[in-house]
Symmetry: D2
Subunit: 275 residues, 4 copies
Amino acid sequence: MSVRKPYRLVSRDFHPEDSVIPVGHVAFGGNKVVVISGPCAVESREQVLTSGEFMARVGVPVLRGGAYKPRTSPYSFQGMGVDGLKLLAEARDRFGVMVVTEAVDRESLDHVVEWADMVQIGARNMQNYELLKAVGQVKKPVLLKRGFAATIDEWLMAAEYVAANGNPNIILCERGIRTYETKTRNTLDISAIPVVKQLSHLPVVIDPSHAAGTWQWVAPLARAGIAAGADGLIIETHPNPAEALSDGPQSLNFRHLEELMGDVARVARAVGRDV
Amino acid sequence: MSVRKPYRLVSRDFHPEDSVIPVGHVAFGGNKVVVISGPCAVESREQVLTSGEFMARVGVPVLRGGAYKPRTSPYSFQGMGVDGLKLLAEARDRFGVMVVTEAVDRESLDHVVEWADMVQIGARNMQNYELLKAVGQVKKPVLLKRGFAATIDEWLMAAEYVAANGNPNIILCERGIRTYETKTRNTLDISAIPVVKQLSHLPVVIDPSHAAGTWQWVAPLARAGIAAGADGLIIETHPNPAEALSDGPQSLNFRHLEELMGDVARVARAVGRDV
Amino acid sequence: MSVRKPYRLVSRDFHPEDSVIPVGHVAFGGNKVVVISGPCAVESREQVLTSGEFMARVGVPVLRGGAYKPRTSPYSFQGMGVDGLKLLAEARDRFGVMVVTEAVDRESLDHVVEWADMVQIGARNMQNYELLKAVGQVKKPVLLKRGFAATIDEWLMAAEYVAANGNPNIILCERGIRTYETKTRNTLDISAIPVVKQLSHLPVVIDPSHAAGTWQWVAPLARAGIAAGADGLIIETHPNPAEALSDGPQSLNFRHLEELMGDVARVARAVGRDV
Amino acid sequence: MSVRKPYRLVSRDFHPEDSVIPVGHVAFGGNKVVVISGPCAVESREQVLTSGEFMARVGVPVLRGGAYKPRTSPYSFQGMGVDGLKLLAEARDRFGVMVVTEAVDRESLDHVVEWADMVQIGARNMQNYELLKAVGQVKKPVLLKRGFAATIDEWLMAAEYVAANGNPNIILCERGIRTYETKTRNTLDISAIPVVKQLSHLPVVIDPSHAAGTWQWVAPLARAGIAAGADGLIIETHPNPAEALSDGPQSLNFRHLEELMGDVARVARAVGRDV
């Protein structure tokens, strides 16, 4: 697990300026804070279209939703696959929101690249180096989540795998690390934002939903992330959290997301940015 | 280590309103965010008076400084003791700042109560129950730091020890927890702010200096803390960090503290508070 | 990350007797403690054949060696691939040792199944569910390493993925977990042995080499594992540790392995087992 | 928390030979493995005398029992104090077992020194430096437990505090560290045994009871500790665990302790030692 050679391409030494990564008409890493939101899992056409429409209406430019779900149990819902990707693409076409979704192997990666605007690599695959090499060879930007027990160095080395294989369009995502504290699902490592910003030129977004594990704590963590210098947020929402097939307890409903957007805008302006 | 009986007196069930804890003319837990700052250790009369004067000038109402230092090594500087307390009191008398300093046993507690306005219980003594009982019997407010590997439940149980022994004037301080990540000295558990605010009526401040371990990361963590709902900050500063006897690398100099005060004010207003 | 449905097939409730898993002429989970040893990475024909010959001579029935190496850095040696697998097979054919080696994706899995006797799933792929599903569909036994930050429940759920996809021949391997302590590379969770033995019928081996990170501490950890009830050990050795391309500092040389075999036999007999 | 100056007096550089620490007629650190056992808390005369008699009968030379209990909750049983110490002393006088019990502050330390043969410093007080200084000034040997989140360096620095204040008779006790795994109360850091043995000349014992938190796992951890090179064990037992006022679930009954003594003797002989 030791780091034999340091990261190069993702290092700020190599590229002193902040990188700005375009995802369609959206830019990560510029002055604007970018919010990504949507359901944990794509569950139905109605759910996705309702979500996409709402995101467009409240100024959330990127819709998230999982079609391939890496679940702890083999008996849990594993996602809708390509059918889910097509629903996300339909939401993009109708409402103008960009779409990000997770790939879990080469096969799903091919489909994600075909239908989505950004490929997510999940926390549990952050050291799946074969997948990192594969995503390094595609033409779509990558949202690279930090493994839940990865050091910052290992996370940046994972990004280096992607970059070294040809894909420089990487957005890092801090989503909480595993600690002894059990009140929250994970412990949001808020310090990772300034640390990574110092070490790397890549944009960093935070995922307060997976860190908190409880929707009531998502808004304060989201505000904290922006105040600490994050370039964006990824927030789980659901039209009806009580009926979500996964991650219901940590999902905001639409009203709470709308309130959060106001909060985020105010904090963003307080630190010299915009939404 | 299991919690056999839950906390009562410090629970929000027992006292649904936020507690506002007065420290002289300063109030913790109200609408105003309160900043505490000063050196890690009291080192000299000049250092303390210079610090006190600066704090008063930039609107920091509480001066910190350690006269009894719990050091990892028996060969490190252990603090100036009562002489240090007298210097802090002189700074208070001349500049009108309140004074907080750590007590490490019954004897030092007696002196701290005599000379200071608030007693700090350090992270390494958070489960020193005899000290908690003793501080429960004094008439001064207590700044109770979270142990660096304490759960939130254990921290609130430590507060319960103080309250159950007669002292309800407790301010909680999150200062980073021990995790596997080594870039920062500890990992600031930013989630602890909303979690504790839900469980307890006590004010919560954060200590970004001990969490970060590096001064460059103090300001983003301080902003994050306020954005997440903290009632205050405790920040290590030194007139000349390069010459500090302890914690120099994580200490701000005066110019950086002044800049931070502006940042904090902007974020505080963005979340409906003031400094 | 919560476990929605418990493991079934790997649970002791489902199969109250200890499972004995055959790997060629070797059996894991019976009265005999089984030692697996060999180099971290397959580096050359001479290295592999020398290792295989030595293992046969000192009574180590299974040879390990990585042909596909998941490395933290994209610039590190990534393994010899199929050429390495052929060398392992040659060692088996000449010296009668069984061969275990890691697969990192579907493609390498096909090759490993063709050439080796047991498939290793590494710690960093323990939650690579697509790989777990794939290995569930092959006819070779699986050595499933615990992720370095996986809970025991998550580890058993990973085994459940393999079993639920059709492959019941699973051997669990504890290899150290990530904690705040940095003297060792990871912290060997010795308690995992009795805990897993109570929850599951599967054999458990321990990997003291990756846990320790330093060869001097491998022997005491190996003895501890057997004393705690482990069914076997996996130990990194190298004909010349100082020249190893990876994991040299934690590799035993042949003389130390031979001494360790004597230690292990004595402790095994003390707990009513044999080697 | 950083270690500014390394330990000296407790370092193996300073004293290359293993230290043998006498506790009355018992020696820690020699060829014999020493078992300490008894109840978590002293509860009654009958409980203590029954325990002492049993220990003498099965060859356990040191009786443990807490008279001052640092409890997480202020509402839990806090121990019998001096009355409890007198019961321990009575057991010593009648059955010839040495007595170890915890001190929690200067006042209790005075009493413990008067009545007991060895002073225990508990995990939660490992960085209570005022207590360490005080115990450095007494004439009784010290059993110094590792803090549940202390690094090995911090633990040895705590021992250095005791030694630097004049008391070289220190026995270290590993009792499990706090990790993310929740199946066990703490994670026994079995590696700490060889690591500390390399760094220091002091004897090391392990406490499998507090690490496991469940009596069924105590025996395998105890065997593992001896196999890894520990100089002794401290095991919680109770005449009737179901009625224990504290730590019942992790306490062995007398029959299980007797079986364990046989196990320990066999493993000790396998590693060239005796009980």
